[in-house]
């Protein structure tokens, strides 16, 4: 028994007492391996499923397959595992922001199965978000099992996310950058080191089981100054496509919720529409890695109109799949849309300036991919490193940076929060470490309560009150009903100042006559952020805490500041 107990608390092992960063490194390896395995499992499952379904592609009823897959996926999430549906990544960020990275164990499996059903049957979505939540849930639950603290748990959630992305794309740097930039939101070595190790572990597991191949073939492009300048135009086009994709996803979500039908029926409707589009433009089906490779290699061979139409169709198909209840992520669709947008842009350049020797369309496909990923996530570093790693294209780094940064900037102007963060920002749930909201959200009313104020009664004479003031160091005196103990109001030292120097009034004035009855109060369950806002708006320095008409204590700005500083120091590792 003792051995088991010892095993459950590695924080107590002598080696980790010496330096707890070693503990995180060990855990990061474990989390990286498991998240890598989960992404390999999903990858293989998708491969098997798409090969199996491929034989039915020429049948007229093929359009019904994405509908069936999406419906099954929705039924699985709603009825079998009772998972509150969502895209996965926002749930991870929400949990990191508000609950120290606590995630349900079931999330490590459920999204893998549901997204496999959606994507494998032809739905337009990516497997990355499901593996991210799976890896993050694995990290969170390993931290829970070993009783690690919140900070260590958040780092392991980042490790899970980083390991998953590193494994699915065979791209450890992109995995690390994604986890830090998007999930954890804090560039500190305490996070970066374990996440980097987990990303490497995840990528190595993928290489061990699937071979060390970059997802898309490496191509050499001869880039001149003109092509670099032309990339600015692509950035604008990519930003437009990103904004269209974001808004279409959101509007589809709203429209689908107005349809008076069960969730699985709505998912089937969306899947059916995707299937119909796919009959004419197969590029919209599935996660689309195969099509992305064709586009990078410049083998798509379609005229401008068809490529532009395919771009719109893929945007619509992704919105129909995810907005109507299918399960999956937006990474892979962004890669396909980005490459289609890039090829469209190349066709436009050739059309308008045919005499200039433009680089191969694959170059613009790469840039388009980086633009879409950066714009959608509003995470330019993730976009740059992901495209560089999955294509081996270090030589295009300069135009990649230009497209990523310009696209992100334009998108930020029209959509201040990324697709992942929009709902979190709207509901005030994005609480990055070290920010005002995060610090205040980590405080609660009960811990700020000051209970050293002397309570008084309305029938008390001023003379008795003056005696109380002599022995009190506070300026506020809550007034309670003598019989019921209910809170009635408050007396501030300023309220009695006019009477204080007039002893005649001592036996004629009762506190009930001078107390303030219109007092702003707060409840112990209120958020400290709301309490502070209330104090700011009303210009208050202290506010009573009342529950069920009973006075509990007082909250003052001085105590809030004191606790605020302590919390800030904890979050910034100064304590």
């Amino acid at each position: 028994m003792r051995i088991l107990r010892w095993w459950r608390y590695p924080g107590n092992w002598p080696i980790f007492r010496f330096d707890d960063r070693l503990l995180l490194i060990l855990m990061a390896v474990i989390v990286g391996i498991f998240s890598g395995l989960s992404s390999v499992v999903l990858n293989r499952s998708l491969l098997i499923m798409s090969e199996w379904l491929h034989r039915y592609q020429h049948f007229w009823w093929f359009f019904a397959l994405p509908a069936a897959g999406a419906a099954l996926s929705s039924l699985f999430l709603e009825k079998v595992v009772r998972e509150g549906a969502g895209h996965g990544v926002p749930e991870v960020i929400y949990s990191v922001s508000r609950y120290g990275g606590l995630l349900r164990l079931r999330s490590s499996v459920t999204r893998l199965v549901s997204s496999c059903l959606t994507i494998g049957s032809g739905g337009s979505a990516g497997p990355e978000a499901p593996v991210v939540i799976s890896g993050a849930a694995i990290g969170s639950n390993i931290a829970k099992y070993f009783s690690l603290n919140d900070r260590q748990r958040v780092a392991l959630v980042g490790c899970g996310a980083g390991g998953a992305i590193a494994s699915i794309f065979n791209a450890p740097i992109a995995g690390m950058v994604f986890a830090v930039e998007v999930i954890v939101g804090e560039w500190k070595s305490v996070n970066i080191v374990p996440i980097a190790i987990a990303s490497v572990a995840g990528a190595e597991i993928c290489r061990l089981l699937q071979g060390n191949q970059i997802p898309f073939g490496h191509h050499v492009f001869k880039i001149d100054f003109l092509n670099i300048v032309a990339s600015l135009g692509l950035a604008v086009l990519s930003a437009a496509a990103t904004i269209l994709q974001t808004r279409m996803l959101r509007s589809m979500h709203t429209i689908s919720h107005k349809v008076p039908a069960p969730m699985w029926v709505r998912a089937a409707i969306g899947g059916c529409m995707v299937g119909i589009i796919g009959l004419y433009l197969p590029v919209v089906l599935g996660e689309g890695y195969h099509w992305t490779e064709i586009l990078i290699e410049g083998r798509y061979g379609q005229i401008l109109t068809i490529v532009a139409l395919a771009s719109f169709a893929k945007i619509a198909a992704t919105a129909l799949t995810l907005g109507w209840g299918g399960s999956g992520g937006i990474f892979a669709p962004c890669l396909v849309i980005g490459s289609l947008v890039g090829v469209t842009y190349h066709h436009l350049l050739v059309l308008f300036w045919p005499s200039i020797s433009w680089v191969n369309e694959g170059y613009y496909a790469l840039l388009g991919m980086a633009g879409l990923i950066s714009g959608m996530l509003q995470a330019p570093l993730t976009g740059i490193f992901l495209i560089v790693e999955i294509t081996g294209g270090w030589q295009v780094i300069v135009p990649l940076i230009i497209v990523s940064v310009v696209t992100t900037t334009i998108c930020h102007y029209f959509e201040p929060a990324s697709y992942y963060l929009k709902d979190l920002v709207d509901h005030g749930h994005l609480l990055r470490p070290g920010t005002d909201e995060r610090i205040l959200s980590d405080l609660n009313v009960t811990e700020l309560l000051e209970q050293d104020c002397v309570t008084v009664h309305p029938s008390m004479l001023l003379r008795d009150f003056v005696d109380i003031i002599k022995h009190s160091h506070r300026n506020y005196f809550p007034v309670e009903d003598e019989k019921t103990g209910d809170f009635l109001g408050i007396v501030h030292l300023d309220d009695i100042r006019p009477y204080l120097f007039d002893p005649v009034m001592y036996d004629t004035v009762f506190l009930g006559q001078i107390m303030r009855t219109q007092v702003e109060v707060v409840h112990p369950d209120d958020d400290v952020l709301d309490v502070v806002r209330k104090m700011d708006v009303k210009g208050l320095y202290s506010i009573p805490v009342v529950v069920n008409h009973k006075y509990l204590g007082l909250i003052s700005k001085a105590t809030i500041l004191d606790q605020y500083r302590k919390e800030l120091m904890v979050q910034c590792h100064l304590l």
Partner: protein, 275 residues
């Protein structure tokens, strides 16, 4: 009355019985019931080191329009001001977060299964998870409203049992009801149990509140449970021994919940004792 009890209201006769039990408990211990009327069949509870998804039985959503008036009526009749919990945060649009800063929570024996499953001997998986993770004790209410007039604490000497005993003293103090301790003698002698109490500075409380300390000397624990008053609130610790020991030697709390129809106040391993 600054202690709060979380109650998930089921809008049917069974739910009424459970709410009456919560109200009775609150009045006895000086706590205040906070009622959550669910609008979805699932919600999350984020504890210190665990997140529990509670999947409610569909009957919790029955006749949603009358749920709040029904609960308010029962509370008002009991002389309490109705207070309802509105979730502030959502993990997903259909997945509200219910905060866990309460002092007690009241559950029937199961909240995720049909009411036909509720009976002695069965405690649902969600209720078990809540007991395991919560910092507060969980009141597992009897299927019908059953007032209690004394307190019975099961004490086996473990850390969890000490927490249960402390809770028992707290409830005895605020309710003014007599308290009895029940101990199944195992490998340790009577003196060793008393020494545990002495080491934890609880001797004074024992003298003040305990009317009788029963020791069950032979191993027929189940039969001894007949000595527990039928109208006692039974306070006990659960999940204090770890998984392996639980599987090898079984658990007293399982035997108690399989045998007694009393209201149970269960203290899990994460409960933080207060005096």
């Amino acid at each position: 009355m600054d202690h709060q009890l979380l109650h998930i209201f089921r809008n049917n006769p069974l739910g009424r019985e459970t709410l009456l039990q919560s109200i009775y408990f609150c009045k006895k211990v000086g706590a205040f019931p906070v009622i959550y009327i669910p609008k979805t069949t699932k919600f999350l509870m984020y504890f210190d080191n665990d997140v529990v998804q509670v999947d409610l039985d569909k009957s919790y959503l029955d006749d949603g329009d009358t749920a709040q008036p029904h609960a308010a009526e029962i509370l008002t009749q009991a002389g309490l001001e109705p207070r309802f919990l509105e979730p502030k945060h959502y993990t997903a649009s259909t997945l509200p977060d219910i905060h866990t800063g309460f002092n007690y929570m009241c559950c029937p024996r199961s909240i995720s299964d049909m009411s036909s499953k509720i009976g002695i001997g069965y405690i649902g998986p969600r209720v078990r998870r809540i007991v395991k993770s919560a910092r507060f004790p969980v009141l597992i209410a009897s299927p019908v409203f059953k007032p209690w007039n004394s307190i019975a604490v099961f004490f086996g000497g473990s850390v969890n049992a000490v927490k249960a005993l402390r809770l028992g003293f707290h409830i005895a103090r605020v309710s003014g009801l007599p308290l009895e301790i029940f101990t199944q003698i195992g490998k340790s002698s009577k003196e060793e149990y008393q020494r545990v109490v002495k080491d934890r500075n609880l001797e004074k409380d024992v003298d003040q509140y305990v009317t009788q300390w029963h020791y069950f000397e032979n191993n027929n624990f189940e039969n001894h449970l007949y000595e527990v008053p039928h109208d006692a609130l039974v306070i006990l610790g659960a999940y204090g021994h770890g998984v392996i020991k639980h599987m090898v030697v079984g658990s007293k709390w399982e035997t108690i919940q399989e045998t007694l129809g009393n209201n149970l106040l269960v203290v899990g391993p994460n409960f933080v004792a207060w005096r």
